[in-house]
């Protein structure tokens, strides 16, 4: 028999496995087609082109209820990416801070951080999201509280920021001599506008940074040849600020302040409560896990490193920054990646607070209104799969780079 011949054994097993797998797949597909036939809902994606009919409150690209379902899904996708991006950054900052503070020699601080970590790790994230939303809604003043001659609530920071239970209104950047927008992808559902002002500003910023690096390289050369490092900070500051100020002045930059108009605040940028609650809950929840990772990473560095750094006369802060963290990073990064992935996947719980991410649009209202569960869910899974693979790909690439530098 083929199975007893070592030459063919693995091949036989693999062929059998392959046939089994294909039979299973064929069986599932066959069932699906048969069932869909009975239901009278053959697989077709035509409904994506039909008008969605519903509105989305937060959109990074323009959208109205006459746009297609696909466009709505795209808006949702951008919202998912936005909250995942913000969440990952905040979670990292808070996580590193808490992880370091848990090792603080101040007993009380270390204890408070322990309580924070245990509280967040051991209660489901969905509960935290709902609670964060409830806290924001219940504890902040409604816009109506700002009204009247003696309002109960006032705007913060010289009347520039309004913190309400509908969200936070912050001043928005406006350009009176704007260059306009650059329109990408014509009329397709994926179309979006890129602000040319933003591109110009970014270009100037990058040029400034490049100039600063050239300056420090020059300073390094001088230091190496003469032993004296020329003073560069004022030149650097100039390189950074002067071009930026000139460009902003040319574009006619000014801030648009939020003000009470009708039912709501108008003007300014509106950070909605749903976004803030989701962002807050996801980053605090994930930060608790990251804190443990960071703590583990720091503890994994042998004590001799700290002592050696102390012997060199480095202060505790510098020891942490220059000696411990760079080494701990190698231990920290792989689990950090999986936590970023978790955060991105957990952002799908946005429907609990009404944040219109892709689960809320494609997997929520679109699915309800069209009744095309199979198509919507498959597409939804595909989108998340691609996001996950991209994140882990990028992070693995970075991870490998860190490893190479170490060796």
């Amino acid at each position: 028999m083929l199975i007893y011949d070592t030459r063919y054994r693995s091949l036989t097993i693999q062929v059998v496995a392959m046939i089994g797998f294909m039979l299973l797949a064929a069986w599932l597909i066959n069932n699906t087609l048969a069932n869909l036939n009975t239901l009278g809902k053959p697989i077709e994606f035509g409904f994506f082109a039909e008008p969605a009919g519903y509105d989305i409150n937060q959109m990074l690209v323009e959208y109205n209820n006459q746009d297609s379902h696909l466009r709505a899904a795209f808006v949702g996708l951008l919202n998912t990416l936005l909250v995942a991006f913000l969440g990952c950054i905040t979670a990292t900052i808070v996580g590193v801070l808490v992880g370091v503070l848990r090792l603080s020699n101040n007993w009380l601080v270390a204890r408070i951080m322990t309580v924070y970590v245990e509280m967040f790790r051991n209660v489901p994230v969905l509960l935290w999201i709902v609670l964060a939303m409830a806290v924001l809604i219940e504890s902040l003043p409604a816009p109506s509280a700002f009204r009247g001659d003696e309002p109960e609530a006032t705007m913060k920071l010289f009347d520039t920021i309004a913190i309400t239970n509908r969200g936070v209104y912050v001043p928005e950047p406006l350009f009176s001599r704007s260059l306009g927008n650059f329109h990408l992808f014509g009329n397709s559902p994926l179309r979006f506008d890129v602000s040319l002002d933003l591109i110009v500003i970014l270009a100037v910023l990058i040029a400034s940074i490049f100039g600063m690096r050239t300056m420090s390289a020059r300073a390094n050369r001088i230091q190496e040849s003469t032993g004296v490092r020329p003073k560069t900070w004022h030149i650097n500051l100039g390189i950074l600020i002067v071009p930026m100020v000139i460009v902003l002045a040319l574009l006619g930059f000014h801030l648009g302040y939020p003000e009470l108009r009708g039912f709501n605040f108008g003007g300014g940028t509106h950070l909605r409560n749903s976004l803030i609650a989701l962002w807050l809950a996801l980053s605090l929840y994930t930060a608790a896990f990251i804190a443990e990772i960071v703590r583990g990473g720091i503890l994994a560095i042998s004590r001799g490193q700290t002592e050696a750094a102390n012997a060199l006369g480095l202060r505790p802060g510098k020891t942490m920054r220059l000696v411990i963290l760079p080494q701990a990073l190698r231990v920290i990064i792989p689990p950090l990646i999986s936590n970023y992935l978790n955060l991105t996947k957990n952002s799908s719980l946005a429907i609990a607070v009404g944040y219109m991410d892709i689960t809320g649009t494609l997997g929520g209202i679109t699915m309800n209104q069209t009744g095309r569960e199979l198509e919507c869910v498959l597409l939804l899974m595909l989108v998340y799969l691609v996001i996950s693979l991209l994140i882990s790909g990028v992070m693995n690439w970075y991870n490998n780079r860190v490893k190479l530098v170490e060796r």
């Binding site: 496995a17 245990e118 489901p124 996947k345």
Partner: protein
């Protein structure tokens, strides 16, 4: 003080003075506080800020928790009592809702006269996992572990006892048949014959046989439909079933991922990465809307079973990664030692590799369980009545419409108790395993 050296040296002390007490400022509470709280200006500021923070939080929470109403029939009655007692309705909890509904939050709609069944199942669960988790537990308890998978469904769902017994007999056929036939017709052929026999037994004989036996000798419990499951019972049940079922699947997937058979490896990696790449909520959407479509026309599982299937697949992918970690942590010498003894692949896996790899993986398995247990709250989004789902239903009762924090505080508290104790256990285990290895 002695006088022996009086002539040579003017003063010398040749006997020890009794030890002096350390200064009062460096021992006891004060010393501890100086060392740990006020060791420098920065620390002092941090301590003061922390104290202020704690005082602020406690001042808000404590009155709310303790100056509260425990007996009332509705939220409005609660508010009236608060108004009468404290003159305001804010800042006081209305625990009356928990008082009235706590059994529902724990057991869902499980018939109240049958509560002993889930409780017994839970106690048996603890007994069943004890020999795996605690070294001091007697090994005889492993019999409970072996019987538990058959006893638990019977306790929870009820019905005739013959069903679980017949299913268990199928496993006996599989196990002893394989052993018996291995010596007669070779291990592989024996295994295949035993598997086929067991499958025939399960698919064609168990159903009619247990029905017949049930009619002949009606030993059974009152059946409970899974729709009546809810609350924490549902969360724990989904978590336990998912972890229990995902363990064997996870082992197979982990082995497949490690194997050098290209196609098998590709299938396993594809499955694991797919499941790990999508959020659980999309898998639950599959459970709630698509799983019946994937099955042969006319098949109809009930929703709790569908959710269990999808959560099991979800947990299996994570379990596979945990076990892969355990496999990777084993020194290569173990594999080579097994090979040198002349054991074949399955023998070495069964006798050498897996017992060690699984032991190393237990903390990971426990954390996977914690994760799955917490994630069971997501089933409320597809309309199952887990604690969060029930909290919505309770709030739609017009008596409790508008209540909020009390329910969430109670649910969060229970989740915390469960997960915290499990994570403590996992840490204890990690410490123990560490010393074992050194």
């Amino acid at each position: 003080m002695s006088d022996t050296h009086e002539e040579t040296i003017r003063f010398v002390r040749d006997s020890m003075l009794p030890q002096q007490e350390p200064p009062a400022s460096s021992v006891g509470a004060i010393g501890w506080a100086r060392a740990n709280l006020f060791s420098g200006p920065v620390n002092t500021v941090l301590t003061i800020i922390s104290l202020a923070f704690i005082a602020y939080v406690l001042a808000g929470v404590l009155p709310w928790v303790f100056q509260s109403v425990w007996t009332a029939d509705s939220l409005n009655e609660c508010r009236e009592i608060m108004q009468a007692t404290w003159g305001e309705t804010h800042g006081h909890a209305c625990w009356a809702v928990i008082n009235e509904r706590w059994l529902q939050l724990l057991f869902g709609f499980y018939p109240s006269e049958l509560y002993w069944r889930p409780i017994l199942a839970f106690v048996l669960l603890l007994v069943a996992v004890a020999p795996v988790l605690f070294p001091w537990a007697p090994n005889k308890l492993l019999w409970v572990t072996a019987a538990y998978p058959f006893v638990m469904p019977w306790l929870m769902w009820g019905g005739t006892i013959w069903g679980p017994i017949c299913v268990a007999i199928g496993f006996a056929i599989l196990f002893f048949g394989a052993q018996f036939l291995a010596s007669r017709i070779g291990s592989l052929a024996g295994l295949i014959v035993a598997v086929v026999a067991a499958l025939i037994w399960w698919l064609f004989i168990v159903g009619p046989l247990s029905g017949e036996l049930g009619q002949a000798m009606n030993i059974g419990l009152e059946p409970v439909a899974s729709r009546n499951f809810g609350g924490f019972m549902l969360s724990i049940l989904i978590g336990v079933v998912a972890i229990g079922c995902s363990l064997p699947i996870g082992i197979v997937l982990a082995l497949g991922r490690q194997s050098d058979l290209l196609i098998v490896k590709a299938i396993c990696v594809g499955f694991i990465e797919f499941i790990r790449g999508v959020p659980l909520i999309t898998l639950l959407f599959v459970a709630s809307t698509l799983l019946n479509i994937f099955m042969p026309p006319g098949t109809n599982f009930d929703i709790i079973l569908r959710v269990m299937i999808m959560v099991t697949l979800f947990a299996a992918a994570y379990m596979a990664e945990v076990i892969r970690g355990g496999l990777a942590a084993l020194p290569k010498g173990q594999y080579e030692g097994a090979d040198s003894l002349g054991l074949d692949y399955w023998q070495s896996q069964r006798l050498i590799i897996m017992p060690q790899a699984l032991k190393i993986s237990i903390p990971g398995i426990v954390s996977t369980f914690i994760g799955v247990f917490k994630d069971t709250t997501l089933v409320s989004i597809i309309g199952l009545l887990d604690p969060l789902g029930l909290s919505n239903s309770i709030r739609s009762d017009s008596a409790w419409n508008g209540i909020y924090w009390e329910l969430f505080a109670f649910i969060a508290f229970l989740f915390f108790i469960f997960c915290f104790s499990m994570s403590r256990y996992s840490m204890y285990l990690e410490r123990r395993l560490k010393t074992d290895h050194r």
